[in-house]
Symmetry: C2
Subunit: 300 residues, 2 copies
């Protein structure tokens, strides 16, 4: 039986001055009924989330994740979350995690809509789950095969149409899940979304880093994709180790010609790309191992 | 206190031969905890739905809605629903609705994922809610103002990239909800999505019909938008009344020059457009009233 837990979190205003949140964080059975069928998360994917890795009881990059959650809330017209309260919930969950790796998911839905469209919304609804992470050793050590998939949007869509919520990590992930199924149908492990005008975006649940000579690049996070928390950490480590890093608009063709590439995410960490659309990429096993060792060290 | 109810529906295989479904449909409190926090509907908007109007106890166009649900399931790699079981649930809910108008929502999620990504999924989860409909008299009689909003996709996206799930009615509706908020910020009642290359699609929760001379047109349902069940009924009625109907790729500019236009949907029914992006459109109050009278009559 693997470890799991869940908390329901009573929403409090972002400016609530209290510093003890114990009374607002309630353990619940992760398998028991907990959300009403009128919650807008389950009805419309109307909410936001973060996935936070826990390594030996330490939640990784909590600050960056809570910052991104607040950013997603602003983009989605959701109430600003109470960062200290959510941090307390994350820390309480992490403290219960067994040694090794776990994943905490923090979710905020717009709330419960009684009586259908046009009626009042009571919200938000906030909850957290924690579970032992799957074993990602194979992806970290041997790398993964990816295929590129058209995200349908051109490079200008995010700036032109903020209602597309392209920089927000929303609960509306049906397309991300469909892309992963399509990748598996094509014999790959993961997908990389590209724009309809031929630029690289991100994976459905990970950020791309590629190497060109000694420089490490990730697609411009302005518009169209999420700023990756693990990618930010990876860039810190790369810079410390003397590797220049940068953000660029990266044409899809540049991915095929990369000197190496990785998908990085909070749970799987760094997975080297062995193949992109069936073309082999060079793999640097030593650098990947060193990067993953860093990503497994405690970081705030 | 307005009327509401909810049912949890035990999933059975699509080819299950039974004809009595009473034991598989359980009334639940629509406000009580019912779904676990591990359900993929609330975690990833990973599921599909239909909204069915009930008029004086009669569920409207149930067959067309169940057909579209099955279509959405196929596009989303979800198990085929048992149509007769879901019809029985819809009829049982409709029979409890008070006189007047109600809305039934039928939802199917991929199920519950224990232990996070990569672990097994137990599903699907199926539920239904019914609630008294809001009063839509003003929209039906006086019409609505709309703004056009870029959906970010070009006309070819749906055919090129089926993983975008553009013809499926999924639970990932965060963008649809954000578009409605943007419309209200601009002083309008609703939005009409257009492609990035300038063609009309649909509203976030309704289908467009426009009139050019004596012909009634709706955007081609191939790719990029849902086939509207209410629009199909409206076309039947228009044809019976001697008005030719058709499907076309409609440039956004043609919307401004329309001789009249409506958004049609299962609950609000036909709402004439009085303004598109601030430009006035001709309104035919008599035709709108006659169409709504038809849409309020019992239809299967």
């Amino acid at each position: 039986m693997t470890f799991r837990l869940a908390f329901l979190i009573d929403p409090i205003p972002a400016d609530d001055p209290r510093t003890d949140f114990a009374g607002t964080i309630s353990p619940i059975d992760p398998d028991a009924p907990a959300l009403s069928v009128s919650d807008l998360s389950s009805n419309r994917g109307d909410g936001i989330f973060e996935s936070i890795a826990v390594v030996d009881g330490h939640p990784q990059e909590t600050g960056a994740h809570l910052q991104r959650l607040a950013h997603s809330a602003r983009l989605s017209d959701l109430p600003e979350p109470h960062t200290a309260q959510l941090r307390a919930a994350v820390e309480a969950a992490a403290a219960q995690c067994p040694p090794g790796e776990c994943t905490i998911r923090l979710l905020l839905s717009r709330g419960v809509q009684h009586g259908g469209p046009g009626q009042g919304i009571h919200g938000p609804t906030i909850w957290l789950t924690a579970a032992q992470a799957p074993d990602n050793t194979a992806a970290r050590e041997n790398g993964i095969k990816v295929v590129t998939l058209d995200r349908g949007y051109d490079s200008g869509a995010a700036a032109r149409a903020p209602w597309l919520l392209l920089g927000a990590k929303t609960l509306s992930y049906a397309v991300n899940m469909a892309a992963l199924r399509e990748a598996r149908r094509r014999g790959a492990d993961d997908a990389i979304f590209v724009t309809s005008d031929g630029y690289v975006l991100e994976a459905p649940t990970a950020t791309l880093i590629l190497r060109r000579g000694d420089t490490f690049l990730t697609p411009e996070p302005t518009g169209g994709l999420l700023q990756g928390t693990t990618q930010l950490s990876a860039f810190d480590w790369l810079e410390e180790n003397g590797h220049p890093t940068g953000y660029e608009h990266i044409p899809t063709a540049a991915l095929y010609d990369a000197d190496a590439a990785w998908l990085v995410s909070s749970t799987r960490l760094a997975a080297a790309l062995t193949h992109v659309d069936g073309r082999e990429l060079p793999v640097d096993r030593d650098l990947t191992a060193a990067l993953n060792a860093y990503l497994l060290s405690p970081r705030d």
